[in-house]
């Protein structure tokens, strides 16, 4: 079922291990990423030197691009849990070749999310205060605790099923540097392909898969609570938790489809990540989008019907006011139309679904911006006696550069992991094949 044309075990090994190398192209790509990262980090240096005044933030819109971006990264990281855990526990077989990609994305997004929140701090030099004086009442403390836990469990969920493949890398790959060989040797923990070792892996993976579900749901629920726990009209909503989680799956599905396409093309994995996988992912995408559309309707229609003071100003600015263009573009262009398109078989072929996913992912980013920023432009008290700059938020070059830096860092982490280890679980694919041959 997984592999359309029959392949021998050694061909599979060769195919899947062929991406594990430091090719010229990869070095060029990494070089490009690192140079752009350094350029962007220069702006963070400016922010450290001059304070947050280098941003477009003010006393009213005091959370902007960084927090929107943080919410986006946390959202996208939930894909790891959806694919590996939920689908894995449901014993859905087709996810085998993409499960590791999902974990890589989860690790990348979650790790960088943790760093983004530091860039938003006025005093990053006092980060240790959170650990020294942390108060359990504060959703920020919950968020930090849960992000760290999620990264840790995602790393384990990535690493444990990887052990047999690391051993395989050590065994099969030739021309490795001494250092890399040592890394493989240490990380493979004396793996010897014994049945009891496989059993241990299955057992531990299962425990982690169960563990990560509540943690992944908490991570994004807590992120939504950063807003929902305040008294601000527009944030003060009891469906923010599930609304955010539903939105997270949409962003995550889009992210993994793009990643699947990129790896399939770059690593020549057409026989492993097949059209069937895109089709199935497309169906899952439709399902999660449907749930998200439902939450969007709830989130907007309920307050829009009543137009309570406070909420009314904010809603009208979204529906007809100065945020309306972005709002409708995101809701219709970035959610509704993709959802309808994906109902058709033809649109779930690799290229079209990848293009649709890019649109959805970009829209998902702007959706976070729309959740975070416009509400702060309409506080209960009038905004007076402050500079024009405080009235409306527009991000500065520095903010944009630092946000771009987060994406670059994400790409660095993902690219590095994808080249250091095989992106498709070799032993699991071999197992699937074995089952097929036996039956």
């Amino acid at each position: 079922m997984i592999i359309e044309n029959q392949k021998s075990i050694s061909t599979i090994e060769n195919d899947l291990l062929s991406s594990v190398n430091w090719s010229r192209n990869f070095k060029l790509w990494m070089g490009l990423l690192i140079v752009s990262l350094i350029v962007c980090l220069y702006f963070y240096f400016l922010q450290l030197r001059d304070g947050l005044s280098v941003t477009g933030l003010g006393d009213f819109v005091s959370w902007g691009l960084y927090i929107s971006n943080f919410v986006f990264f946390v959202a996208a990281s939930l894909i790891g849990m959806l694919i590996t855990s939920v689908m894995g526990l449901l014993n859905i077989k087709w996810i085998t070749p993409i499960a590791r990609i999902a974990e890589i994305l989860a690790i990348g997004f979650a790790m960088v999310a943790g760093l983004i929140i530091i860039t938003d701090m006025g005093r990053p030099d006092r980060l240790h205060h959170v650990f020294m004086f942390g108060r359990v009442q504060s959703p920020i403390v919950w968020d930090i605790a849960i992000v760290i836990t999620y990264v840790a469990i995602s790393l384990m969920l990535y690493y444990i099923p990887l052990i047999p493949d690391i051993a395989l890398c050590n065994k099969k790959l030739i021309g490795l540097s001494k250092f890399q060989r040592r890394i493989y040797k240490v990380l493979s923990f004396g793996w010897a392909d014994k049945p009891e070792q496989f059993e241990l892996i299955h057992k531990f993976s299962k425990i982690l898969m169960v563990l990560i579900i509540p943690i992944a749901i908490s991570i994004h629920t807590v992120t939504s609570w950063l807003f929902a726990m305040t008294l601000r009209a527009g944030w003060d909503s009891s469906i923010f938790g599930p609304y955010f989680v539903a939105g997270a799956f949409v962003a995550g599905c889009a992210a993994i489809i793009i990643a699947m396409y990129v790896f399939r093309t770059a690593f020549n994995l057409k026989d492993y990540i097949t059209d069937m996988h895109f089709d199935k992912m497309g169906q899952l995408f439709v399902l999660v989008s449907l749930v998200y559309v439902y939450f969007n309707i709830n989130e907007i229609i309920v307050p829009a019907y009543k137009l309570r003071e406070g909420e009314a100003t904010h809603l009208m600015s979204m529906l007809t006011g100065h945020n309306s263009f972005m709002f409708w573009l995101v809701q219709i262009g970035g959610l509704l139309i993709p959802f309808i398109l994906l109902l058709f078989n033809k649109m779930r072929k690799p290229l079209p679904i990848m293009l649709i996913s890019i649109v959805v992912l970009v829209a998902a980013w702007f959706k976070r911006y729309l959740i975070v920023v416009p509400i702060q432009e309409h506080p209960y008290m009038p905004i007076q006696n402050v500079p024009e700059k405080f009235m409306h938020y527009s991000p500065t070059t520095a903010e944009i550069a630092i946000t771009v830096a987060s994406f670059i860092l994400f790409l660095i982490i993902v690219s590095f992991l994808a080249k250091l280890f095989p992106v498709i679980p070799v032993w699991e694919v071999k197992n699937e094949l074995g089952h097929k041959n036996n039956s």
Binding site: G51, G122, V130, F133, L226, L231, P379, V386
Partner: protein
């Protein structure tokens, strides 16, 4: 008022200079005595005034400059505890406010704020239907159920026993969650280098006055906790020329008008004038009451 402030800082300065000078004398005399002979230990006695106003005599060789760490710890402790048995309240008479803005100036001077940073902000409240407007001074409401305090991850902002909500800018990490959580937009941030940061660089941080301000931290109205400790009215209250503000202790049920210095019963003032609090429906329980404007 600002004159007085200057005086007191000058006094502080002189005190510190004096102590440092004495320290230097002590150190040099110790050196000298070390050179000549070991027996001439009993040197001059110096009379000093302690923090609780006792006159004491100290051997000059025992003198050393005041440790700023101890200063800080002392200021921190008293700032976090607050004044026992008090419950400070403010009453703002909206009928009287003529937008003179003396309160805003006095506040910004005392707290070393940039012109765009407001601990107190006089807002023009427009009534769209009638086309009329009135002026409403808005400070921190010093809520009894403060949303800002709940969300602070590091206990930088806290509620004292006397009802005042303060911020410790040596603790604050600058996450601005409190700004997001405050429905009254009462808080402001040090986005850039604070005003006159160079001048105040070496001053010990006074948590009650919340100066010197620090870049990258939140700052807010402190109900002039430093003045209350001295039994004085807040900076804004005593600067008002129009009799807008009453300030006092709800436990005593007395408030004093900052302009007329007349003291009245709080409960009667509130009842007779149909006082209200801002956005009562949010359940924040403010300590600032408003007497309705004339419409």
């Amino acid at each position: 008022m600002s004159e007085e402030n200057k005086n007191s800082s000058r006094r502080d300065f002189l005190q510190k200079l004096g102590v440092t000078g004495l320290g230097a004398i002590a150190a040099s005399s110790a050196l000298l005595s070390g050179c000549s002979s070991e027996k001439s230990e009993e040197t001059k006695k110096v009379k000093l005034l302690t923090q609780d106003n006792k006159l004491v005599e100290v051997d000059s060789s025992q003198l050393s400059p005041v440790l700023s760490d101890e200063d800080k710890a002392y200021l921190q402790k008293k700032g976090r505890e607050g004044l026992p048995g008090k419950k400070f309240v403010m009453v703002v008479d909206l009928q009287k406010c003529k937008n003179a803005r003396k309160c805003m100036t006095a506040c910004q001077n005392a707290h070393q704020l940039h012109p765009e940073q407001h601990h107190i902000n006089v807002l023009e409240m427009r009534n769209e239907t009638s086309g009329t407007s009135y002026y409403m001074p808005k400070t921190c409401q010093h809520c009894d159920n403060p949303p800002c305090v709940s969300v602070c991850p590091v206990d930088a902002t806290f509620k004292r026993q006397d009802g005042i909500v303060l911020i410790d800018n040596e603790r604050c990490i600058g996450c601005r969650f409190c700004i997001a959580a405050c429905p009254y937009s009462a808080r402001t941030f040090n986005w850039r280098e604070p005003k006159d940061a160079e001048i105040h660089k070496n001053e010990a941080y006074d948590i009650e006055l919340n100066v010197p301000q620090k870049k990258g931290t939140v700052t807010k109205c402190a109900f002039s906790a430093d003045r209350l400790r001295d039994g004085k009215l807040p900076y804004c209250v005593s600067a008002c020329p129009n009799g807008v503000y009453y300030f006092g202790d709800a436990n005593e049920d007395l408030v004093t008008n900052g302009t007329t210095k007349k003291t009245v019963r709080l409960s009667e003032l509130l009842k007779d004038n149909a006082a209200f609090t801002l956005m009562q429906e949010l359940g924040t329980k403010p300590s600032v009451y408003y007497l309705p404007p004339r419409t």
